[in-house]
Amino acid sequence: DAQEKRTYYYASQLQGHPYLLDSLLGMDYAASKFGVDIVSIGPQGWDPVGHAEAVEQAIAKRPSGIVTTLWEPGAVPAIKRAMEQGIPVIVIEAVVPDNGAMTFIGLDNYEAGVDTAKALIAVGGDTGKLVVSGNWGASNTDAKFQGLMDHLKANSKWELLGRVDDKATTETAIDAAKTMYNTYQDMTGIVGLDSSSGTGICLAAEELEKDITELAVVVNDREAPVLECIEAGDIDATVVNKTALQSFMAIQMLEAYNDQNIGLANAPISSDNKAAGVTPFPQYMYMGTEVIDKDNIQYFVSQNMPSFN
């Protein structure tokens, strides 16, 4: 059965989230490169129960492997179940501890925060007054914030004036950013930590006809408006996760594991990895981040991105 096409399931919630579209792009690419089928199942929006069901019910399809996400641990029992039945599971994008999967491929949010801090220092110098916009209470925002503040404390004299909550929704983000401009007149730097923050920060300034080119503005992720604002010079830089890479590598790892000619499964860690209960995967695989700014922006705008199907 090594000949026949292998099928992998991407079972997750938030299937429709624009942030993950790049992830799906990477998967299409992998599918075309490795000649495998990849089936996406699961709810369009936020639905933990639906997520868990998607993973559990993917198992019933007996796939060659499952890729999933863990913004919350609801699917952990499903993952453990799949692994028990010999179906390799890889978690991408977001993860919780003790999840029982083969590996996690994605972003270390804390490090992403650190990278954001570095970018801020790069564009805004090592001193200033800072306001941070984010989706507070969401794990990635909180972790990024930790990394950001730790690095700034250690390596700069940036001080935090306050935080605003943008709920990762553009409408909210705009109004939150406006409140920020109206409240903290004396800030010299802005950081946005979730995918909507940048859009909010930039559009709010536009609405207030406020010139923020003087401010040091560093955000995260690559929503289309953010890229526009970088071109326009309102936002100085955005720190992005390599979402396409994480999904591509997930498939690549699964292929390497399943394909006897590559034989990752039998990498000589032990005489018999299965019997020994050895996981022939690195525990975590972090993508690290890239910084998008005026100089490299044109390579990131979605019009210039390829598509594979």
Partner: protein
Amino acid sequence: MTEATSMAVATSALAERGRRHLGPLPLLVVTAALCLFLGLTRENFFSASNLYSLVYGVSIECLAVFAFTYVMVLREIDLSVGAVYALAGVMSGYLLLEGVPMWGAITIALAAAALVGLINGLLVVRLRVNSLMLTIGTMLLVRGLVGVMTTTLRGNTFPRPFRALSREQLFGVNVSIVAMVVLAIAAILFQQRSVLFRHMCYIGENLRSAVIYGVRADRIKVMAFVASSFMAGVAGIYTASRITHADANMGLGMEFTMITAAVLGGASLYGGRGNAAASMLGLFLIAVLINGMAMYDIEPVFQQFVIGALLITTVAADTILKRRG
């Protein structure tokens, strides 16, 4: 009954009216108090820029809550507002990127929104189905369509001319603010004097009685649902132009904001009552609260706790005052 008593009838009528028309006063007091407090303790609160931002932010949702309130007056409910709001917004953007000229796209999007309302209305009056359950259905249905479009749009930004819409100014302020003011005044007049509103109250209070007295209940209900969807559509298109790209989260949970605002404004889930202008005030109160908490740099995750608490206290105050009167 004697002459004397019938005189008494006429006179004490006024007193009675006064008592019943306590109306949105509690809400007004709470809002004013909150504003005053913030104004006194935060130097930037009363800054023109902040107040303007607040009003502008609210003005868009006000368009939607206007008609939504009247649906509630009719003892019905329209939970599909949020989805329709997103539909109109995303659809107009979608059509634009498909190369449809701007006004054509907007017209089609609005028509689509109105169509949803028409379907809601017709099913409610024709099949006598429970509007809560029905509009949950249409909400999901429309959400799905929005999802389809956002997926194909891949979050791309909309053409400049469309984005310019939300920047349009009239009398030196954004169009949506003018619209809000006009609607608020219209609402007050409409509720004060108009036959139609009185008829709506009759329908909400006792449909059977209303029909016996020749009120066109079915037609009015359909109209209300269409209006609700249409206004949601207008607000949605305006927002789409404002946020410049297709956002799947657009209008998520908006229906609850609407209900909350309407109830804060004195509407009842059991129909017969409602005040669109006060509903707008309700939206404003919520906005001010969030604004204030940001200004106080309150731990963000704690903010929704405060919102919940305020929600309850305001309505509680209202309820208790009404019981007195």
